[in-house]
């Protein structure tokens, strides 16, 4: 099986039995040889839950993967539209067995448990790096790691710009599901806007699905009918929402990738991933044989996320305020979750004098919405 393959494949008893079975079936099945490269390259496999060109979450990862193509010592393969079922397990196995992939990046949250965990057990020599998960030393295998970015930092910047630009003082947020990552973005957006003007509210609509363009368009239109004049979102693809906002003549803030081209008039700014940095760093670590950290997190300072260039409508005052916030994120002086903070039911969640730094794990289990958000979790 791995005889002519330079990247040594993991071999345990089960694999050995399978190999025997394969050899036996080889005559009937016409076992194809594994791809052989002259020099061992760092082979990385990427798996996306949606299409590569969704203007959103998956495209951001695809852009990161594309950056690796420029390196002549690395090879990156990918697969799109892989559902969070046994199919993703098979996609991972296929990349390992047929492409000799050493490190896998299954990028959707739902891939983690049980799929990545099951594969990590079966292939202990392959590294599995998962986007968004929380690797736990006590529970998870050593060949698994997780990485994520504090995208709520650029979302906070969007909130500052939105707060300055809104005339109706009503902002809109279309979100997929009331899960911690999403709630944190909504809260950051709202806290930022209310730091500009405490009368601002954010109306939230949950669509119940990561990708449902019809519902997203309906939600956008109904929010705009309610007098909202800045719209942003956290769904897999912001395309429909940003386009709807543009069509109805209101402002929009992007998410995941740069969507300025979709709304030349009303686009303000947006929160973007910068996966090319992260993926290149991982590739270098693997090439140099360095140990791969199990938990990687980073924000604006670490260049894991970035702020989209300001749109033409953004006023100089808004730009100046946003730039100041970016600066304080870069020098580490910014603390978003600083008490007193009340939730939108009037309960004090963070008392006066308490601060939660960006890296605090407590923030990753958020289940409440801040004061000023109209909507329930």
């Amino acid at each position: 099986m791995s005889k002519n393959n330079p990247t040594k494949l993991p071999m345990n008893r089960r694999d050995f039995i399978q190999t025997c079975a394969v050899t036996g079936l080889g005559l009937a099945g016409g076992l194809s040889s594994l791809p052989v490269s002259a020099k061992p390259k760092v082979t990385m496999g990427f798996i996306y839950v949606g299409p590569r060109d969704d203007y959103g979450y998956n495209q951001a990862h695809f852009q990161g993967k594309t950056a690796l193509a420029k390196l002549d010592w690395a090879k990156a393969v990918d697969e799109e539209n892989v559902p969070e079922t046994i199919e993703v397990q098979k996609a991972m196995e296929s990349m390992i067995n047929l492409d000799g992939t050493q490190v896998l990046f299954p990028t959707s949250f739902g891939y983690f448990d049980p799929h990545i965990l099951a594969m990590a057990k079966r292939y202990p020599k392959v590294t599995f790096l998962h986007c968004g998960g929380l690797w736990d030393e006590s529970k998870h295998p050593k060949n698994v790691g997780s990485y994520f970015g504090y995208i709520d930092e650029p979302v906070y910047v969007s909130g500052i710009v939105a707060g300055h630009m809104s005339k109706s003082k009503k902002l809109g947020f279309i979100a997929a599901m009331p899960i911690p990552q999403v709630l944190r973005n909504i809260n950051n957006f709202t806290l930022a806007a209310r730091s500009v003007d405490p009368n601002i509210t954010t109306t939230v609509v949950f669509t119940g699905s990561w990708s449902n363009p019809v519902k997203e368009a309906e939600a956008a239109n109904s929010l705009i009918d309610q007098g909202i004049d800045v719209l942003t979102c956290h769904v897999d693809s912001p395309k429909v929402i940003v386009e709807s906002a543009e069509k109805r003549g209101i402002f929009s803030c992007g998410y995941h990738t740069n969507v300025a081209a979709l709304a030349p008039k009303g686009f303000l700014t947006g929160a973007e991933w910068n996966w090319s940095t992260v993926y290149t760093q991982y590739a270098e670590m693997i090439r140099d044989g360095k140990p791969i950290p199990n938990l990687v997190r980073g924000g604006l300072k670490e260049n894991v996320v970035k702020v989209s260039p300001y749109g033409s409508a953004v006023t100089p005052a808004a730009k100046a305020a946003a730039d100041a916030v970016i600066q304080s994120f870069m020098d580490g002086s910014m603390v978003v979750y600083k008490g007193p903070i009340k939730d939108n039911k009037g309960r004090e969640v963070i008392p006066k004098g308490t601060e939660y730094a960006q890296t605090d794990i407590w923030l990753e289990s958020m289940d409440w919405l801040v004061e000023g958000v109209i909507g329930t979790t």
Partner: protein, 348 residues
């Protein structure tokens, strides 16, 4: 009508034409069709690994296909497999959680029964709506899919949520010990066996039992069936129930063999892919098996085609779509080749 030779010839002819069209499509993407076909073969059936990949994907399709096949025997076009998968998976998870400490045998038996029962009732409701209230079964079963998914999301985000599943809301896990494992040393879970047994069992019922014959009469002409004194409503509801039970079982197996808990992964489209298999198999439960494997194989090779030839993921849908259209068109040719019938008609 049941001319085996004709079925084989027309099916094979249709598949040949379909693959020729697929080849033209490959060529239009700038690839050599032969190379892509080789990749397709390699990814689907080229090695033991690929076979396992194919069979694992085929397993749920066999069961969800039956959800369209059985009601079709009595003349109903039901496309509610997705909903039955979700309902079966969700309800059997609840039972599995309730009995978690009773030992794997009890848990799995109870889960399988619950999945089949609830999935069956879900589709039987479609049959009842059609029979008693004249509600179009295709529309109602489609809409019930959305209702099932909405119920799942509501419960999984709400009262059934395991607080540890932060960003991927799911129910609590039924526990590693209670899961259905793999067959021997393979990576294929036992769901495949359930699928094959269900297909063969229902084929025997359809072809070699009084009930199966009666169902065909109801499907052929419901008024004639009534005049003949057949218990039409009973037969109709039972066919819907059996179809739904198969799909509900698929949901149970997704939980018991793959996920270990109920979450959004239950509505991954198996119900819809099953419709395709059912039509390809011309509503014959036995033919469901090879067609499910064919479709599983195409899906299994989808990843390799993306990686080796830079083809988009939609390639899989293009291939499936072409096969589907050609097979449906080939229906027109049944009964058109007199020479095929000559010997048979003399006998019957």
């Amino acid at each position: 009508m049941l001319n085996l030779r004709e079925t084989w010839l027309i099916s094979l002819g249709a598949l040949t034409v379909a693959f020729m069209l697929v080849g033209i499509f490959f060529a239009s993407t700038g690839n050599s069709p032969f190379e892509v076909f080789y990749t397709l073969y390699r990814g689907a059936f080229g090695s033991w690994f690929s076979w396992q990949n194919t069979l694992v994907r085929a397993a749920p399709l066999m069961l969800t296909a039956l959800c369209t096949v059985l009601p079709a025997r009595v003349g109903l076009i039901v496309i509610g497999g997705e909903g039955a998968v979700v309902v079966g998976g969700l309800c059997s998870t609840l039972v599995g959680l309730a009995l978690r400490d009773m030992g794997p045998f009890t848990v799995i038996t109870a889960m399988v029964l619950t999945g089949a029962l609830t999935g069956g009732l879900w589709i039987a409701a479609v049959g009842a709506l059609q029979y008693f209230r004249n509600v179009n079964e295709t529309i109602s079963s489609l809409l019930l899919n959305y209702i099932a998914i909405a119920i799942l999301n509501f419960l999984v985000i709400g009262i059934l949520k395991d607080p540890a599943t932060l960003n991927n809301p799911s129910t609590h896990a039924i526990g590693e010990a209670n899961m259905i494992g793999n067959i021997g040393a393979s990576t294929i879970h036992w769901g495949l066996v359930y699928g094959v047994v269900a297909c063969v069992g229902l084929w025997v019922i359809c072809r070699h039992s009084v009930f199966g014959f009666a169902a065909d009469v109801v499907g052929g002409n419901i008024r004639a069936a009534r005049l003949a004194g057949l218990p039409v409503v009973k037969i109709l509801l039972w066919c819907c129930f059996l179809g739904g039970a198969a799909a509900g079982l698929a949901g149970t197996l997704e939980v018991a063999a793959v996920h270990g808990r109920a979450n959004n992964g239950l509505n991954a489209g198996y119900g819809y892919a099953g419709i395709l298999v059912a039509f390809l198999a011309r509503h014959n439960p036995l033919a469901v098996i090879p067609y499910a494997i064919l479709l599983g194989g195409i899906q299994a090779s989808g990843g390799l085609m993306q990686r080796a030839h830079n083809l988009p993921d939609a390639t899989v849908y293009v291939i499936q779509g072409i096969i589907f259209m050609v097979i449906l068109t080939s229906e027109l040719f049944y009964g058109k080749f007199r020479w095929l019938h000559a010997t048979r008609e003399a006998k019957s």
